[in-house]
């Protein structure tokens, strides 16, 4: 038995369903009752009951692409802030192709404190800090563009179903948009005006993530803003 309608806003502790159901994201089960554990929108899909959270913290997961900032340089690697409760580690072997000689090479010549990097999480098991790698095509130090920060909960909405939203943004604003799963987005476009438009659109998506018909409104907004400029 369901106690709410699909896509209704629920708060922690709300009884969502009773009976033989599977507790999905942001819910918990007690006996045969399923409760919400976060503020969000309920979704009933067959046997699973889940809540799409309106705000979350980023918990690293292997394979995630993230954007982070170098926070410290150690003997054999870097500590990276990835907008998560856990500091990430980037080891030299996961960053540099050639063999590294501790006596001769200076780590800061590759990456220094304050540098932004696009990286991938390779391991995280909650007993150890997450490990990152930048030894894959497309990853590495970020040299140009602008950074937007949103709640990690909004990332799926910004990407959209089969990347429809992010593709729309790329097409309409002519910017390169790299989305980090940790809620940090890199926007780089031909001019600062293009980037500004993309950032405006991303902020609007993050504000209105819980409403329907968003893709259409965003494309309309971008067209209108472009019309004003030309």
């Amino acid at each position: 038995m369901f106690y709410f309608e699909n896509r209704q806003i629920v708060t922690p502790g709300d009884l969502l369903a009773e009976g033989d159901y599977i507790a999905g994201n942001n819910t918990y089960k007690s006996g045969n009752r399923i409760y919400a554990s976060r503020l969000g929108l309920v979704e009933y899909q067959g046997k699973t009951v889940q809540v799409i959270a309106l705000n979350t913290v980023y918990i690293p997961s292997p394979g995630d692409q993230v954007i982070g900032r170098i926070e410290d340089v150690n003997i054999n690697g870097w500590t990276v802030d990835i907008n998560s409760p856990y500091k990430a580690l980037l080891r030299v072997s996961d960053a540099v192709n050639k063999p590294f000689r501790q006596q001769k090479d200076d780590l800061t010549s590759f990456l220094d404190v304050g540098d932004l990097i696009l990286a991938k999480v390779i391991a995280f098991d909650r007993t150890m800090d997450p490990l990152l790698t930048i030894r894959e095509p497309g990853l590495g130090k970020i040299t140009h563009g602008q950074i937007v920060k949103v709640s990690p909960a909004k990332i799926p909405r910004i990407i959209g179903r089969r990347a429809s939203m992010v593709n729309l943004l790329k097409r309409e604003t002519e910017c390169k948009i790299t989305v980090g799963q940790n809620g940090i987005i890199l926007v780089s476009g031909p001019t600062p005006e293009h980037e500004k438009l993309a950032i405006l659109a991303i902020e609007k998506i993050s504000q209105e993530a819980h409403t329907s018909g968003l893709t259409d409104r965003i494309s309309e907004m971008i067209r209108r803003e472009k019309g004003v400029k030309t």
């Binding site: 806003i9 709300d14 009884l15 976060r38 709640s151 819980h210 409403t211 018909g213």
Partner: protein, 242 residues
């Protein structure tokens, strides 16, 4: 303290709450925040985390630790209060922490800390309850997974009559004050204190009165949490129609 028609000093019925106003997401730099006005008591709460814990040796390998600071602003009471944490504030910090702990899934964030700051801007009785209520809202706003919201409310005895949600003067002049914090969906009490004296029968009645108060506050908490998002939704829908 109670007049011939059975009304209290501020004109309330014995089982009536003070007017309550709640707002969520009031601070932009905190991960989660909330504000409450309960009668003349005004309390602000901010939540940071889960975040890396310093000093590191306090971290627990299997769960997050919850740190709570209840603090009264120097201007919150008639006579200036020293801003240094007093004995009472240290106790209330602990009591509020223990009232919130059972509601949070601390085991989901091992080795981290969740910090809750509760700042009393104006005190007129019932600030530990208002503090608990508003801290629960700020935690939910921060996106921290919770079993239930925590609602808190006091009941007590004034002039021989059991009353709900005591104000400062009722607390001081009355015979008993009993703050209760409650998780209504789970039916669990996470804080129960009392000073003054009640008979066993009065205690049972006062507890039920306080739980009813908590349930009313719980409804307001839910509305406040949703309000932030419902407003945007309605705005969008009205734009679509026009």
């Amino acid at each position: 303290m109670i007049d011939e028609s059975g009304l209290r000093v501020d004109g309330r019925r014995p089982d009536e709450l003070r007017p309550i106003k709640m707002e969520v997401g009031v601070l932009s730099n905190a991960d989660g925040s909330a504000y409450i006005e309960q009668g003349k008591s005004k309390v602000l709460a901010a939540v940071y985390g889960p975040r890396e814990l310093h000093p590191r040796h306090l971290a627990l390998p299997d769960r997050a630790i919850l740190r709570c600071r209840y603090h009264m602003a120097p201007f919150s009471v008639e006579e200036r209060k020293s801003p240094a944490p007093s004995r009472r504030e240290i106790e209330l910090s602990k009591v509020i922490r223990e009232a919130l702990e059972p509601a949070i899934f601390l085991e989901k964030f091992p080795r981290t800390a969740i910090d809750v700051f509760i700042e009393v801007l104006q005190a007129d009785g019932g600030t530990r309850c208002a503090g608990t209520t508003v801290a629960a809202l700020a935690l939910a706003d921060a996106g921290i997974p919770m079993r239930d919201l925590v609602a808190a409310c006091a009941a007590g005895k004034v002039d021989g009559i059991l009353v709900l949600d005591l104000s400062d003067i009722e607390d001081k002049e009355g015979e008993a004050d009993m703050p209760v914090s409650y998780m209504p969906n789970l039916g669990l009490i996470s804080l129960l204190q009392m000073d003054g004296s009640l008979t066993l029968e009065e205690f049972k009645q006062a507890l039920n009165l306080a739980l009813e108060g908590c349930k009313q506050i719980y409804k307001l908490q839910k509305e406040a949490l949703k309000a932030k998002y419902v407003a945007i939704k309605e705005e969008v829908e009205s734009c679509l129609q026009s």
